[in-house]
């Protein structure tokens, strides 16, 4: 990192470009096409080049059976698959199914938690991309319209 930066400074050109896009040095750009896809198929095609993923029981997807509140649904994904490059969350019935894509760097364990929004009852798919292919598992989460508390 340090050497790279010094090199750029020495080069003295394209400094503005690099400064404006610092994250391109660190990770891939935000995948706008995949995030704007309206179906899970489109999103996966855009993200992985194929909507075909191998179902895997080596992925653990922890989501509630009935969401207390569709605006805050706790989710944890972990996997024993090796050489994981990315973990994605796809909520099939959301207007834009791709919720998040986590790029797992070397040294980071393939185990992430977050809180997501769900518009309605839907399958939630955890997609794990490794150096040998794409794997997935799904669970349904029921989203109900609240009474008084909701």
């Amino acid at each position: 990192m340090q050497i790279g930066r010094r090199f750029v400074l020495k080069a003295g050109v394209a400094l503005a470009t690099i400064a404006a896009l610092p994250r391109t040095l660190l990770a891939a750009a935000w995948p706008a096409d995949a995030f704007s896809a309206k179906t899970a198929t489109e999103a996966l095609n855009s993200l992985l080049g194929s909507d075909q993923t191998t179902p895997s029981d080596q992925i653990e997807l922890d989501v509630p059976v009935i969401a207390e509140n569709g605006a805050v649904v706790p989710i944890t994904i972990s996997t024993t698959l090796s050489n994981v490059e990315a973990i994605s969350i796809v909520v099939e019935k959301n207007p834009r199914p791709l919720a998040a894509m986590f790029e797992i760097m070397p040294g980071t364990l393939p185990e992430i938690s977050s809180r997501i929004k769900m518009g309605e009852t839907s399958d939630v798919m955890a997609v794990v991309k490794t150096d040998s292919g794409s794997y997935s598992t799904s669970k349904q989460v029921k989203v109900t319209i609240g009474g008084c508390g909701g």
């Binding site: 059976v65 207390e68 605006a71 938690s113 609240g146 009474g147 008084c148 508390g149 909701g150």
Partner: protein
């Protein structure tokens, strides 16, 4: 009670009426605790401070996930900064309170003999500001919520111990007024607070399960996931009253303060565990 069982019905009824009239706050509280313990025999008393999460395990696990890193922590931090900042004349808010930091939350609500009114934590904070020539805070302003969130956090682990002094008829009257409010049906839907949270606690209303009365006041203010923000106890009162399609009262109205007084007394013996996170 057992003796009464042998007595003819009319006399029993008369005795019961008399008992109602005579029952003091502590009798009320013990009866309510007994009611919930017989309804939920597997739930330890202390757990009622967690509301519906004491009753529903699927909801509880989601709540625990939120509690891993609850959004109210930002409110607590802002509240701490506000608390530690002197008012323009140099007064600290702490100077207005007789108790140590962890005990401030638990001093309220109380009955103030001089004014003849129930004083809540929000009122006390504003009284302090007014005494020091500062404008009072709006009751649902973020500053007020943050301050109460901080004091609630500092009070965690102390026990609710609301007093209705025997020698203060005004205190008992305020308590009774809150109790009457709690048990009176209101609104187009004709529900009393107690219809849901005493009689039907644990049952479903559409997609929600109803929580029990005891423990209702221990954890405010709360972060409501639905709102993506914090709300006060009295704002929650207003929400419930709106839900039964009655017109809500003003925050910190006499009605709400008396209700808070009664309902907080019902939580005596439970731990203060605010601020909380709710759906």
């Amino acid at each position: 009670m057992r003796k009464a069982a042998a007595v003819p019905g009319a006399i029993v009824a008369a005795l019961l009426v008399q008992q109602t009239a005579l029952a003091g706050p502590e009798e009320d509280r013990l009866a309510l605790v007994a009611h919930f313990q017989s309804r939920f025999p597997d739930i330890p008393f202390a757990e009622f401070a967690n509301g519906i999460y004491a009753i529903d395990s699927d909801a509880r696990s989601q709540w625990l996930e939120i509690e891993e890193f609850p959004p109210y922590e930002f409110a607590v931090e802002r509240g701490r900064e506000l608390w530690q900042k002197a008012l323009p004349d140099g007064t600290m808010l702490a100077d207005c309170f007789a108790a140590q930091l962890p005990d401030i939350r638990g001093q309220f609500p109380n009955f103030d003999v001089a004014s003849g009114e129930v004083i809540t934590l929000e009122l006390a904070i504003n009284d302090c500001r007014i005494e020091n020539n500062q404008p009072p805070l709006e009751y649902d302003s973020s500053e007020m919520i943050d301050l109460t969130a901080y004091l609630a956090f500092e009070a965690r682990g102390t026990k609710v111990d609301v007093r209705v002094p025997d020698d203060q008829p005004g205190a008992l009257a305020a308590y009774e007024s809150g109790k009457r409010f709690y048990y009176s049906k209101r609104g187009q839907l004709n529900f009393a607070c107690a219809d849901c949270h005493v009689t039907s606690a644990g049952q479903w209303v559409r997609a929600d399960r109803l929580s029990a009365s005891i423990g209702h006041t221990t954890h405010f203010p709360v972060y409501r996931s639905k709102l993506g923000g914090m709300i006060s106890l009295q704002k929650r009162f207003a929400g419930c009253i709106r839900d039964v399609r009655a017109k809500p009262f003003e925050l910190q109205s006499t009605q709400y303060r008396n209700l808070e007084y009664f309902l907080s007394y019902m939580s005596n013996g439970l731990e203060w565990n605010g601020p909380g996170a709710r759906k």
